[in-house]
Symmetry: C3
Amino acid sequence: MKKILLASTILAGTAGFAAADNANFTFSGEAYMGIAASWNWDEAVGQDIDGDGVTGEADVTRFTPEVTAEFSAAMMTTTDGGLEAGTKITVETRGLSMEDDHTDGGFGTVTADSAATVSRAEVWLSGDWGKFTMEYEGVSAGNPEFGDVDFEYAHSFGDFSIEAWYEYRWGPDNDDYGLEGKYSFGDYAVWLGYEHQEAVNDYEAWVGASAALNGFSGEVEATYVSVADDWDFYAEANYTIDAFTFGAFIEDDGTDDDWDYGVNASYDLGGGVSVDGAYIFDNDATVDGVSMAKVGVAMKF
Amino acid sequence: MKKILLASTILAGTAGFAAADNANFTFSGEAYMGIAASWNWDEAVGQDIDGDGVTGEADVTRFTPEVTAEFSAAMMTTTDGGLEAGTKITVETRGLSMEDDHTDGGFGTVTADSAATVSRAEVWLSGDWGKFTMEYEGVSAGNPEFGDVDFEYAHSFGDFSIEAWYEYRWGPDNDDYGLEGKYSFGDYAVWLGYEHQEAVNDYEAWVGASAALNGFSGEVEATYVSVADDWDFYAEANYTIDAFTFGAFIEDDGTDDDWDYGVNASYDLGGGVSVDGAYIFDNDATVDGVSMAKVGVAMKF
Amino acid sequence: MKKILLASTILAGTAGFAAADNANFTFSGEAYMGIAASWNWDEAVGQDIDGDGVTGEADVTRFTPEVTAEFSAAMMTTTDGGLEAGTKITVETRGLSMEDDHTDGGFGTVTADSAATVSRAEVWLSGDWGKFTMEYEGVSAGNPEFGDVDFEYAHSFGDFSIEAWYEYRWGPDNDDYGLEGKYSFGDYAVWLGYEHQEAVNDYEAWVGASAALNGFSGEVEATYVSVADDWDFYAEANYTIDAFTFGAFIEDDGTDDDWDYGVNASYDLGGGVSVDGAYIFDNDATVDGVSMAKVGVAMKF
């Protein structure tokens, strides 16, 4: 095949006059090492969750070391008119971790990565009028040729800020869109949000409040899911004294009205390094719920 | 397994005495957000191209938001004798885009990336004698164990420049090799190229010219594909006035002697950011041809 | 789905107060271009190893161009108490190379990469007490949900240094752990190591020595593999004069008591660039052994 030395360049755009400038780049990174365990698991027939070579046991424990690292390059440029434009790319190493998000169906299970992960495209424009972001959300479940994209708009007016979003999903009648407003006054803030979900032709709405003073911070939120006629609640408190931070949360997520909860403690070594420990109980996982504990060293660069 | 603390280091090379120096690195990046659509598609039985939930329709439109971002690290070092050596690595986020190259068989279709992309290895050496590049071209179609590599040589002598290439393909009698010479005089340039293709034991040859003056630029090229006894033509013109650039192209690619064409407009916001719009018609795609339009914001960092 | 604006942040840790600082980052890179061949291969029925279009031949040669490149970002921060913490991420381009490690079962075969590679997570802490590292070793063979992790500890006391490791493998009775001590005196060093391997409930032990003076360097090592009642030997010598380095090695790896060997030569161009050539013979591969030769340009950035 003839080399395309002069391919149709018409679509290449004319943005090209900003020579690559290392000053447009801000690097950051994170790393973690530790251990984690979750318990209350029942092995299916032939299944060996705890790696003891015995299958089909009741009430066993998953254990794993955890080690992860990632590198991010944030890029930002400013137009002649003062608009800021940017994006950020994160490369994650192959690593090992236990899911610690109790709202995730995989809570307490282990993810061993055999392939690299690079973040999804997230591109933004920002000016006096606010900040507009487009974010790729992955291949569409309805048709893997197409993909889903979130459109987000955020703006602040003094103590008041709003965020609006439109989540575009390929396919008919399956987009979500919503609005959240927040009012901050001194050490306190309150917010109110609403989202319409086309797939169920119904809505969610939520209200929350936070406070931060004298080393203490806390927040509470209540959400009403109309299609399920269900209320969810979340509350969190943290207390920082010297290098220590202690925290606790409680949450009823999903329609089961069961409470998940957790506690954590962290010791800040300075320079972006801390020793962190946590215990979380997820009532939604398995019949009896699953407990998880983890301890490790977190680093930010 | 015993840890290999002292593995056979014989092949590690002795190039190692250049301590990593951040000055050897030049970073760059690109990002894009916008929307695109292509039309004149007929859905097959059971196929839903436009996502309206109805299959098997005639004359439907593909629509997609587009969002992409990439980060590049270019590396360069200089030997004691003044040779320059370098490479460049690009990491692309997972993103969403519509193919806008009308010479590509997938013109007008959507690519939703579910995995990361890192560029292929491209390594070069450069000196008084010119520039030599080796570039990996991917797994060989004939045998996925092996891969294909391009060897390229380029050099300039005053107003005259040449480029020669050898495209190595694993397997018998399937390599390509060619030569192009270019003469530039003031605002004008003319070029002449030739490539032999072993797979068909025949050649392609081409001649072109370009001009750039008073904000106007244009180029034309004609290619003769001997094995098909076919002439291809390409012409492009661009006009820049203040922050605006307007462009148009017309091309007969392939043996059909049908014309593809497009127009575009771009507004340069400065700082590497522009607003771009384009319309392209590809006569080669489907029976009636496919039209595509796109508009978005392009960023270079 | 409602946007999680206030997700359970309890586990996010409090390490976050070190703003991303580009001074925490040290970049490095490597690139290589050259050619390689290995011979003494017999093609199976229907197999075409040398790409000449003829299958089932005896005594054929694998040939490939080689081109590879990689980029690394090393990150390091220091705690208030003087601990150093860090990690390093390497992104490798898709590339093409021939395996030149004669201890690898794939010696002399070609790897054509069709996907990106990012390094595995390796995270370390270092202080007066030594250096502790956790390194992800990939998906566990016993259960791909889980992964394997190496724990390493290294410390130096004047001329004496030790390294201890525990290689955690998911599953019962399959971990390895060991210790190596090394004593360095002037231009000489000697070392002694031991590793217990649970999977075979047996051990390996090794002893070695090295010297480096007047441009000459050499090292020898002998290893006893108890479970096989087998001794392995390795010896290597290098001589550097001006920009040239010449080397040779000989090794009996595995239980066959056959010798593998190789020679290499390298010319240092300065600035991290060298021209390298090598010949290696692997007695363990195929019935008659496999020979490999390679020459190329190596670059470090």
